[in-house]
Symmetry: C2
Subunit: 300 residues, 2 copies
C-alpha cells in the first residue's frame, strides 16, 4: 500500500510535469517558485506564472503540511478519549486564469489526508469555468474525465460529476461556477477499492490535467476577442472570486490551518469586476453562457 | 420612545439626503433606484451610482425586512420554550468606491433590529479605507467621529474606535481594512441611555456621513494620479473584496436571510485585482499606507 511519502513524491512529480507542459503551451511565461515552510509543520512549493502569452495568472502549487488537527477536523471526527489528533495533508492545487476570454479558467486539486488515528482519504476535483461556454469544449472536457474515471470504476464519473455540480455552486447566485467536472472527497478503503487502487485513480486524474487543458489552450488561444468580451471576462472572474472566498473548502482549510496566504489566494485572478445588476442582452453569447451554468447538464 | 416606524422613516430620509449630497459633490453621476420586496417580508430601496465623475461605483441602500428569525439569531438568543421569533431589521448601508485613488473608499451602516420577544438594539459603523493613507484626512475623519460621539457619551468614541479596529480586520492578512473609524452593535437600553437617546446617537452618526465624506471627496477629487496609482487601487480594492466576502457580518446576514444579492454585493468594486506576493517599494507611499493598516493607531 502506498505510504504518505510515496504519495507525496508523486504529487511533486505531478507539479513538475504540469508546469513544464503549461510553459510549453504558453510559449512565453515561466513559473516562478517560492518554497515556504509552515511554522506548525510542513511547507510547500508555490509556482506562479504571471503575464504569460496565454496564461495571465496561474498557480500550480504543491504542499505537504502536518501538525495538530484543527478544531473543525476534530469536530467532524469525534473521539471518545481526549486524544489530540495529528494530521498530514499533501496535494497539488491548480488554478489558471487565461488572458484570452475564449480560453476557459480551469481548476484542479488532488490531495491526500491522513490522521494519527489511522483514518486516511483521497480527495480532489477538476472543473472548467469558461467565460464563454463552448459546447464542443464542454463535451471534450467531460468525455476526457469520463474516460479517465471509467478506467477505475464505472460509477465514478456519474457520481463525481453530480458531486461537482453540487460543490461548485454559487448558492447566493443560484448558478454553478462553470460547466462542472468532477469532485470527490474522503475516498477511502472499501470493498471496491484498496488504497493502491484509489491512488492509481488519483494519478489518472492528475495526469489527465495537462493534456486536457493544453488542448483547450491550443484550440482557443488565438481566437480574436473584443473589449466587450474582456468586460464580460471580468464579471465572470468576479463570480470566481465569490465562490472561492465564500464557499471553497480548500480556501477555508488553508485559512484555518494558518496556511500561506499568498499560496492559497493564488486562485484569485489578476483583475476581476462587479457591475450592479448586469443583465446580458437577449440571445447574446453571454446569455447563452449563463443558461448553461446550472446543475445536471449531461455533456457526454 | 421611538417606534420601529419612526426609526424606519428616519432611515429613509437619511438615504434621501445622503444621495442628494453625494450627487451634488460628484457633479455628474446620478443614483438609480431599484425598489425590491423580499418574499419572506419587507424589502428595500437600492440606490446605485455608477460611472460618476468622482464616484466609480457607490451604493446607498435602505432596507427594512422582517420575518421568522433565521437560525443563527435564534441560536444567539436561546429561549426556554420552542417559541418561534420574528424579527424586524431596518437600516441604511453605504459603500462608495471612487474613481480617483487619492479619494478614499468609505463605508457606513446604521441599523435597528428588534424581535418579537421585546429585545431590540441599534448597530452601525463608519470606516474609511484610503488607497493612499493621508494623515491629514485620517485626523479629520477621526476627529469628526469623536466629536459626533462625544455629544452623546464620552466613552463612545474610544470604545467604538477600538471595536472598529477589531471588526474591520482582515485576519488572514493581519492588516486592518483601512484606517478604521467606529463600530458598535447591540446598543440597547442601559442605565446610561434610553431608546430615544440611542436613536439620537444613531441620527448623529448618520447625519455626519455626508458632510464628512463630501469634504474628503472635495479635497482629493482633482488630485492627479498615475497608472501605478490605479494599479495599487486595484490591489487595495481586492483586499476590500476579501474582507467583505470572508468576514463582513452584514454580508453574511444578507446571504443567510435570503437578501437581495445585487443590493448586498453593491459593496464590491467595479474592478479589483490580485497580484501574487506584491511587495511595495521601500519608502514608497504604498509601503507607508501598509504601515498604517494596523490596530491601535491614535489619530486624534
Amino acid at each position: 500500500m502506498p505510504s504518505k511519502e510515496i504519495i507525496t513524491e508523486w504529487f511533486k512529480s505531478l507539479q513538475d510535469s504540469i508546469c513544464k507542459e503549461l510553459e510549453l503551451e504558453d510559449g512565453s511565461g515561466k513559473f516562478e517558485e517560492d518554497k515556504w515552510t509552515r511554522e506548525e509543520g510542513g511547507g510547500g512549493r508555490t509556482r506562479i506564472l504571471q503575464n504569460g502569452a496565454v496564461i495571465e495568472k496561474g498557480g500550480v502549487n504543491f504542499s505537504a503540511v502536518h501538525g495538530e488537527a484543527p478544531d473543525f477536523i476534530t469536530k467532524e471526527n469525534p473521539v471518545s478519549k481526549k486524544e489530540k489528533f495529528t494530521f498530514y495533508a499533501a496535494g497539488v492545487s491548480i488554478v489558471i486564469h487565461p488572458v484570452n476570454p475564449m480560453v476557459p479558467i480551469i481548476h484542479m486539486n488532488v490531495r491526500y489526508f491522513e490522521m494519527s488515528n489511522g483514518v486516511w482519504w483521497f480527495g480532489g476535483g477538476i472543473d472548467l469555468t469558461p467565460h464563454y461556454a463552448d459546447e464542443e469544449d464542454a463535451v471534450f472536457f467531460h468525455t476526457s474525465l469520463k474516460t479517465a474515471c471509467g478506467k477505475h470504476n464505472s460509477s465514478f464519473y456519474p457520481d463525481f460529476k453530480k458531486w461537482a455540480d453540487d460543490y461548485f455552486f454559487i448558492t447566493h447566485r443560484k448558478e454553478t461556477r462553470g460547466i462542472g467536472g468532477i469532485f470527490f472527497d474522503k475516498l477511502t478503503r472499501s470493498p471496491a477499492h484498496n488504497k493502491q487502487q484509489l491512488f492509481s485513480f488519483i494519478q489518472e486524474i492528475g495526469s489527465s490535467f495537462a493534456p486536457v487543458y493544453t488542448a483547450l489552450m491550443n484550440k482557443n488561444k488565438n481566437k480574436s476577442y473584443t473589449e466587450e468580451n474582456k468586460k464580460w471576462q471580468l464579471l465572470r472572474r468576479g463570480r470566481y472570486v465569490e465562490f472561492n472566498l465564500v464557499y471553497d473548502k480548500g480556501t477555508k482549510f488553508g485559512l484555518e490551518t494558518n496556511g500561506r496566504i499568498e499560496s492559497i489566494l493564488m486562485s484569485l485572478p489578476q483583475t476581476a469586476g462587479w457591475q450592479y445588476n448586469y443583465l446580458p442582452l437577449p440571445n447574446s453569447p453571454e446569455e447563452k453562457t449563463l443558461s448553461l451554468l446550472k446543475k445536471g447538464i449531461n455533456w457526454v
